[in-house]
């Protein structure tokens, strides 16, 4: 660990070594030119900037325009500027867009743009997945927004509580736009999260041990894990809602065995962590900026990391504090209250770590820092009111009042938007080569800071006076008028602030002052590259020996002789394929060199396929949904199709002999397995959400199965389960065989597993057809077929994947050295066995036991 009492960082920071292969690396790494090239682009620079721009576009559309109209309507009592219907649409849109289409894409954009540079690697590990994430987010957002063209704008709030959002009370298609459009965007969020997790854990520069990882990367790592755990349940919830809406199922209809509160649980298991998913990256940005502008090393780095992780865990234990008014027992209420209050500790640790860092430093008042100071003030206030509403009795008054509106805007504008602005001012020079204007920056800051307080502080008061949320008007004479008028004035201070920001970006991008490579005298690796950086970022990968490499290292490539020699070698070979270095998770020693994907059109096609499924569901073209599914499956297969390998196994082994680090051109052993691990994790979380729904519905019903439905007979499902387990063993055999190069064992294993899987699938489907109940009469049938259908879908995925592996086992053929798909298939199949047996065990044996 480095000492804090060091002298202030020097401004002439070290730069990266230039090498004679730069030209070739450019050619290799640059995205192809032209429109076709742009559609195929996968480079993190391109994808990151697109995510950011699209996020800001939605921010202005849904964050700003909506709120101006709403505040005008509420400026005076009994106003008739907008109709009640339009007002419902406005606040639904405002919440949905900012929560799903603004903050998350902006942070994922920052992540994809900055992470490779920050971590000292050339590219994210799965560039095509990044491109897919962008396109799903963009197309999902556009699908959602297209509801305005059809005058079918969602109008039941961003939380879409059932039964209001269900088929009975929202019979038109407006809510389908909400479920389906945002569903696509949620898939994009998960795709980007996989990319971020593996990037932070596996593609760091040699020497960047876990104790040297920049806090922004730590924050993104925790956030990405949270996205997996939060977004998967809400996708499951959205699926159930759409099954109710589009297929006549009964998950949320209390008269048919459903439960209106099941939705609230699934939604808030997502919805509360979502707040911290938005907040943690903001914390990360602040932790990058504070040391640079205070010119002092971050104090209490381990505490900061621990706080980030603690917030990540705790945020999943307090979703029910959004449900204090649904009639929880006092004990349950107190538990969630305590859990919600405890999260104040890690938050306070963060704040005091920043204050302590600033305390020891000499501050430079540049715009990014100004936003950070504004952030601390606003966030502390929002955090304090957050503690207040975590108190059950007070929340019984404050819940769904304007007090909560005030609280959440202090947290989301002060706590999240301010760091976003700080981040833009901070990193803009790096990626455009131009400085943002300081004078405009100050205007930007002060307008936003004053405007936010003027707009949102009065809402605390009017909320305590009894004004509920989501009202399109209010009567005069209750003392609310003046506070509402002040709030409206505040918005008209915020809007010019955002205008100044947009103008600053546009103007500076075109003719801002040149930035140089490190205008802030910053400490992390991205500032060692030219501004803007080249596509491959590092010709010679950097070697890290400190938490603040640019402050502490004279030479960014110095390490142990082996590592130095190794990174130099990587600038000379390979020059024909995009090589990225994998390092060990803990100590960041080189582990593997693998080939990342080239540009490809298939991520775009897959995203279009995914959106087509949802569009077809909107139009009730069930055949169209199947076509969309076929497009997705085809595109994903095409995008993962083994590419021509530009290096023989002999070349790989030669490099490995010289440097001791394996080269895997035919598929990484490390990151691919991590990715499969995360896919299994997502399947597990989804499975958990289905099980939770099953048991929640069981407890909501007095008899289970309901009267008139017999207990399910487990004989044939047991036969199917035995077959699936046998298939798992066959798959294990296949994998063991290829690891030692035995082709015959591989083929028999694959064939056995596939045969067992197909027979099991058929047996189970036949058993379903013999059951005497349907999916639409009662919630029991709905969850029965949905949970069972999930297991069947996982099996179908396994069969498609297995079929491909069988084909690939012949052409191009697997070897003991190149067989990553078989490894992943074996792991997938193991997860499949667990889900199959657990799922059908619950359905067929559970009711006998309980």
């Amino acid at each position: 660990m480095t000492d804090v009492r060091e002298a202030p960082p020097p401004f002439d920071t070290p730069r990266l070594r230039e090498v004679d292969t730069d030209e070739q690396l450019h050619e290799l790494w640059d995205d192809p030119p032209g429109l076709w090239g742009k559609l195929r682009a996968v480079q993190n620079d391109a994808i990151g900037v697109r995510l950011l721009l699209t996020g800001f576009f939605f921010l202005i559309l849904g964050g700003t325009v909506d709120s101006v109209v709403m505040r005008l309507q509420l400026a005076v009592p009994d106003n008739e500027l907008v109709s009640p219907q339009l007002y419902s649409e406005l606040f639904t849109n405002h919440g949905s867009v900012t929560m799903f289409l603004v903050i998350l894409p902006i942070f994922e954009g920052f992540a994809i743009l900055v992470l490779p540079l920050l971590l000292g690697t050339r590219e994210m590990p799965f560039p095509r997945l990044g491109a897919f994430a962008y396109y799903t987010f963009l197309l999902g957002g556009l699908l959602y927004y297209s509801s305005t063209l059809f005058m079918l704008v969602p109008d039941t709030g961003w939380f879409a509580y059932t039964p209001l959002s269900g088929p009975e009370f929202s019979p038109d298609k407006a809510m389908d736009f909400w479920v389906l459009g945002l569903g696509v965007a949620e898939i994009g969020a998960i795709a980007a999260a996989i990319e971020i997790i593996i990037s932070v854990l596996k593609t760091r520069a040699p020497g960047m041990t876990l104790a040297r990882v920049p806090l922004f990367a730590w924050a993104l790592l925790v956030t990405a894990f949270m996205i997996l755990f939060a977004f998967t349940p809400v996708i499951v919830g959205s699926l159930l809602l759409e099954l109710d809406r589009g297929f006549g199922m009964q998950f949320f209809d209390p008269e048919r065995g459903g439960s209106s509160l099941l939705w609230q649980h699934l939604f808030w298991i997502f919805g509360h962590p979502e707040v911290y998913i938005q907040f943690l990256p903001a914390v990360g940005i602040v932790s990058m900026i504070v040391p640079v502008f205070a010119r002092r090393r971050m104090v209490a780095y381990p505490w900061q990391v621990a706080s980030l992780v603690a917030i990540g865990f705790l945020s999943f234990g307090l979703w029910a504090h959004h449900m204090f008014t649904v009639g929880l027992t006092p004990v349950v209420g107190s538990f969630f209250s305590a859990a919600s209050i405890v999260i104040g500790v890690p938050a306070a640790v963060q704040i005091f770590a920043w204050i302590a860092t600033i305390w020891g430093g000499r501050v430079r008042w540049k715009t990014p820092f100004l936003f950070v100071v504004g952030f601390v003030a606003l966030f502390v206030l929002g955090g304090i009111t957050g503690i207040m509403v975590a108190s059950v009795p007070f929340d019984l008054q404050a819940h769904d009042s304007y007090f909560v509106v005030a609280h959440l805007h202090y947290v989301l504008i002060g706590g999240v938007a301010f760091p976003i602005f700080a981040g833009v001012y901070y990193w803009f020079p790096k990626f455009t080569g131009k400085m943002l204007d300081e004078r405009l920056g100050r205007w930007n800051f002060w307008l936003l800071f004053v405007g936010t307080n003027v707009a949102f502080f009065p809402m605390h008061i009017v909320g305590l006076m009894g004004m509920p949320r989501r009202v399109y008007t209010y009567p005069a004479g209750l003392g609310w008028e003046v506070w509402n008028l002040i709030s409206t004035i505040g918005v008209f201070i915020i809007v010019p602030g955002i205008g100044v920001f947009v103008w600053n970006v546009v103007r500076s991008w075109r003719r801002g002052e040149p930035a140089g490579h490190n205008p802030w005298g910053a400490d992390t690796l991205e500032w060692a590259t030219p501004s803007p950086p080249v596509a491959h970022a590092f010709s010679v990968p950097p070697v890290v020996g400190s938490r603040h490499p640019l402050w502490d290292q004279d030479d960014l490539h110095a390490g142990s002789p082996e590592v130095s020699q190794f990174v130099t070698a990587l600038s000379q070979w390979p020059l024909k394929w995009r090589a990225v270095l994998v390092t060990r998770t803990g100590d960041a020693q080189p582990e593997e060199v693998f080939r990342v994907a080239d540009p490809s059109i298939w991520p775009l096609v897959a995203a279009i396929g995914a959106v087509s499924i949802f569009v077809a569901e909107l139009l009730k073209l069930r055949l169209g949904a199947l076509v969309g599914l076929a497009i997705v499956v085809g595109a994903v297969i095409a995008w993962n199709w083994p590419e021509r390998v530009e290096a023989t196994e002999e070349e790989e082994e030669a490099f490995e002999r010289e440097h001791g680090i394996p080269v895997r051109v035919g598929g990484s052993w490390v990151v691919a397995r991590w990715a499969m691990g995360l896919v299994i994790m997502i399947l597990g979380i989804a499975f958990g959400a289905f099980l939770l729904s099953y048991f929640y519905l069981q407890t909501a019903n007095e008899s289970w199965p309901p009267p008139g439905i017999d207990l399910p007979q487990p004989f044939w499902p047991a036969v199917a389960a035995v077959l699936v387990a046998g298939g798992g063993l066959a798959m294990l055999h296949a994998h063991r065989s290829i690891r030692v190069g035995r082709q015959a064992g591989l083929r028999t294993g694959l064939a056995g597993a596939l045969a067992a899987g197909i027979v099991a699938l058929v047996v189970q489907v036949l058993d379903f057809q013999g059951l005497g109940f349907g999916a639409t009469e009662h919630a029991y049938g709905s969850i029965f077929y949905t949970l069972g259908g999930f297991a069947l879908a996982v099996m179908s995925g396994g069969l498609i994947f297995g079929g491909l592996a069988a084909y690939w086992s012949v052409r191009p053929g697997f070897t003991a050295r190149r067989h990553t798909p078989v490894t992943n298939l074996a792991r997938y199949w193991a997860a499949l066995v667990v889900i199959w047996i657990g799922g059908f065990g619950t359905l067929y044996v559970g009711p006998w036991v309980t």
């Binding site: 009994d78 509580y161 107190s334 204050i355 108190s391 004479g477």
Partner: protein, 312 residues
């Protein structure tokens, strides 16, 4: 329309102007938390301000600051908040004691059905309570989720379609207290208000007696004609007037409509003019409301209003 509320004799000052023990406990909790919050907030701001101007400090001092401010301070403050909060929770009754008045409230899009099960009658959007006696509210919903909130008396509780919820409140002073629906429930969520009228016990007993009786027969030419219009226009398909053929259950019970102080779920004061406007064109007052306007001539309308006002 807006002036109406200014002239209306309604006091509504929110959760910090408590008129019952539950709201009182919560208001006390709030003022206590506000005091603590103000101290913490100012302390953090002062520390931040000082840090911005300070000279450099050693690592040890910095770490101490993190431990003191980030761990010790919140541990103390948050524990105190939790303890006081749980104490407040315990001070709030979750079940009514013996002798409590029982009131069943059912949320509808967008009005409140109010039943007094021990007295056998129903009314709507206006709840009368005896001062100084506990009231046990049983909340249900006939459609979507609503939330019942009378800030001056206490916290809110959701009205669910799944199962009933209970809320125990008490008013200590006579007066009129405004209530609202606090859970977004559709297009007219904003105009789903109610009025709580707290009365001295004898006044309340008189009110109960009056409400339990069937509707008085119309007196006078105009109200009698109004009763005919009421039947002919089909009002009784949705509304009930006890003692007549009107027995609809989808809309507010009108048996003693003339005694109620507000109209359309507390959207308007119940003056003759407002009743006429509402009956003639409810959509212009509450767009999306489930009531259709009565297509009546001016004289029929006047007769109908006279009949309704006479339902005391």
């Amino acid at each position: 329309m807006s002036v109406a509320w200014l002239s209306a004799p309604i006091v509504a000052r929110g959760s910090l102007d408590p008129r019952g023990p539950v709201a009182g406990e919560i208001a006390d909790l709030w003022w206590w938390m506000l005091a603590v919050a103000a101290v913490v907030f100012l302390a953090v701001l002062v520390l931040l301000g000082v840090s911005l101007r300070s000279r450099r400090t050693g690592e040890r001092v910095a770490r101490r600051l993190v431990v003191a401010g980030g761990v010790v301070m919140p541990a103390v403050v948050l524990t105190a908040v939790l303890v006081v909060s749980v104490a407040t929770t315990n001070a709030i009754p979750f079940a009514a004691g013996p002798g409590a008045l029982r009131v069943e409230v059912t949320g509808h899009q967008w009005w409140w059905e109010v039943r007094y099960p021990d007295h056998g009658f129903a009314t709507a959007n206006e709840i009368h309570l005896p001062v100084g006696r506990q009231v046990e509210f049983t909340l249900r919903s006939a459609d979507v989720i609503h939330s019942f909130w009378v800030p001056q008396l206490g916290g809110k509780i959701d009205a669910l379609p799944d199962h009933p919820n209970t809320l125990v409140l008490q008013a200590d002073e006579p007066g009129e207290y405004r209530g609202v629906c606090a859970e977004f429930c559709g297009i007219q969520h904003a105009k789903m208000g109610l009025l709580v009228v707290a009365q001295p016990p004898d006044e309340f007993a008189a009110w109960l007696d009056a409400q339990a009786r069937p509707a008085p027969p119309p007196e006078g030419r105009l109200p009698r004609r109004g009763a005919v219009v009421f039947g002919a226009a089909g009002c009784g398909m949705c509304h009930s007037v006890r003692g007549t053929d009107a027995a609809g259950a989808r809309a507010p019970d009108l048996t003693h409509f003339g005694s109620r102080r507000t109209l359309a779920a507390a959207a308007l004061p119940a003056t003759g003019e407002h009743i006429r406007d509402w009956v003639a064109d409810p959509q212009s007052i509450k767009e999306g409301a489930l009531m259709e306007g009565a297509d009546l001539g001016a004289s029929d309308l006047a007769a109908l209003v006279a009949y309704l006002e006479g339902l005391e």
